[in-house]
Symmetry: C2
Subunit: 340 residues, 2 copies
């Protein structure tokens, strides 16, 4: 049975959504849960839940990483052998084989740095990447990197392609995933120096390489995996989220300030707008995997509620069940052999 | 009176929207219009319009640049002394002082390359930039570059900041515009190598420098000018447009396939959704100026209709009236002096 560590100190409203979501996941998906964090805070929430027959235990971690932890200070806390923060303690459980995956809705940077220093990288991987799942017109797209690596080399992008392709196939269930290189034009030859230098690596690879994709092809669902450097990916993610929020806010505002007819109409289409919100809601997709580290780590939005945590555990459990980590290791290994 | 050249061969449905929009602009804004393109195509459309008392003339240009014109071929056509395509002929009218600004809804790349080769750059400007106006939660934001320069140096970004600031102030009417550097994090120190190297230039400048901005601050309306390299800017623009389209398409689909109640509601909120469409419609913003070339050039969406062309002429005329070109020249000149 998949054993999933949930960072109880992760979400903005910790520990309630984190603990409640973990309990929901234990019941619905039969996952074995390890809650890591301040036991004095976790226990009352856990005791308030019906946990009959569920496998849930607490591992005490008295400290936590926050948005204030960054730069050198963060690196020190992420590396410290005797670190007592919930991320380090939780990730060590995965490292030591006591659990199979780690899920947190905490500070993304802290999660990435802690995972990188404590788990290390898959052999042959130069730069691990954070890979959120974008909603698209036809389903979803794995986009990587979106923040771990603001400056990349062509080889990094190529490895992102391999990791993302395996993840899309194994975890998202996409057969022979189409992999695109995010660029400022669809035609071959368009791109910055990085994209131009990465293109031959993709063309010579065994990946199902689609070619360049613009933002509109990514959101339009033309590819299953979209590869980009962490700077561009981050700007793309944040802009997309902001545009979605701008539109839904404006619709709400117009309906609220509208005529009585508009208001009645608004009431009638409310369930439809709810569907849109669900479509765009990151909590529906669970959390973003960090691909390339030597272990399964998932980082969710700080504003995750219990449902988002539950979904993150569902995805993490599925990733364990299909053994995506070993598949990524083999694929990277094979790519290194073919490059020799 | 401002004399505006309109490329009659620009839009996807040329020459009808282009000619009709130009006529509308001549009437509404009192602009003097030069229609450039194939006279045999333009004349029938123009004759079908009421042009009494309007100053509109045709300058014949038998050829046109299309999406097929790119790379070396495009450069040759853009440079040719005896070029007979509508963009080259139209831009030459500006160059020779026979007109004050050029507006086209044609191929963006062709417009940029033709403007660059025929007008040259403002003295001291290293790289001109295309600067569309993004809709934001609080109004609009000038974003540059979005495609002319996929790879930039820190000095290029700094000059984009100067050009964008002058444009926002003079043409958009923003007092002391706030200028942000698009980055993967708001905090100083976040960014790729390019952003990090550009930051000191902005901090030492006379610009109203806001600091780093993420996609959400740009769309959220925190700054009036957002500076980025053409690769990132292009991905940002295309993703934002695609997300907006995805949402409005999905709303339409849900209402169409919904229950009778949802359908009735959809009918009642239709005007409200129209407002959203208008908010996001690039045609409302006219066209994107190309800043840094030695002349006023505006490039609109290929799918521009007559209203979009009219709005583009309105913006171009305003840019002429406030003499933004001389203001940009002075600002660049001053920045070079202070750097000495």
């Amino acid at each position: 049975m998949a054993r999933i560590v949930v960072d109880a100190m992760g979400s903005d409203n910790y520990p309630v959504p984190d603990v409640e979501g973990a309990v929901l996941a234990a019941r619905e998906f039969g996952a074995e849960i390890v809650l890591v964090g301040d036991e004095a805070l976790i226990k009352p929430v856990l005791d308030s839940q019906n946990t009959d027959g569920l496998k849930i235990r607490i591992v005490h971690a008295p400290e936590m990483l926050t948005m204030e932890d960054k730069g050198e200070n963060l690196v020190l806390k992420a590396r410290a052998k005797d670190a007592k923060n919930s991320m380090a303690v939780g990730i060590d459980l995965v490292k030591n084989g006591e659990a199979d995956a780690f899920v947190s809705a905490g500070n993304t940077g802290a999660g990435m740095v802690t995972a990188l220093f404590r788990l290390g990288r898959i052999r042959g991987v130069d730069r691990p990447a954070l890979a959120p799942i974008f909603p698209t017109a036809t389903g979803t797209c794995v986009v990587l990197d979106i923040g771990a690596n603001p400056d990349c080399k062509p080889e990094n992008l190529y490895q992102f392609g391999i990791l993302g392709s395996i993840y899309a196939e194994k975890v998202r269930g996409v057969k022979n995933p189409k992999v695109g290189l995010v660029s400022n034009g669809e035609e071959e030859g368009k791109g910055n120096e990085l994209v131009k230098a990465a293109t031959p690596l993709f063309k010579a690879s065994k990946l199902n390489y689609f070619g360049n994709v613009e933002g509109k092809e990514v959101i339009g669902g033309k590819v299953d995996v979209a590869v980009t450097d962490g700077f561009t990916g981050n700007v793309m993610l944040k802009s997309s989220e902001a545009v979605a929020k701008l539109i839904t806010d404006k619709i709400r505002e117009i309906i609220k300030n509208g005529s009585i007819i508009t208001k009645v109409g608004g009431l009638l289409v409310k369930p439809a707008l709810g569907e849109i919100k669900k479509l765009l809601d990151p909590s529906e997709q669970g959390a973003a995997p960090m691909l390339g580290v030597n272990g399964l780590v998932f980082i969710g939005h700080g504003r995750s509620d219990a449902i988002a945590i539950k979904n993150a555990v569902r995805v993490a459990k599925h990733a364990v069940d299909v053994n995506v980590l070993d598949a990524m290791k083999s694929a990277i290994e094979a790519s290194l052999r073919s490059a020799e």
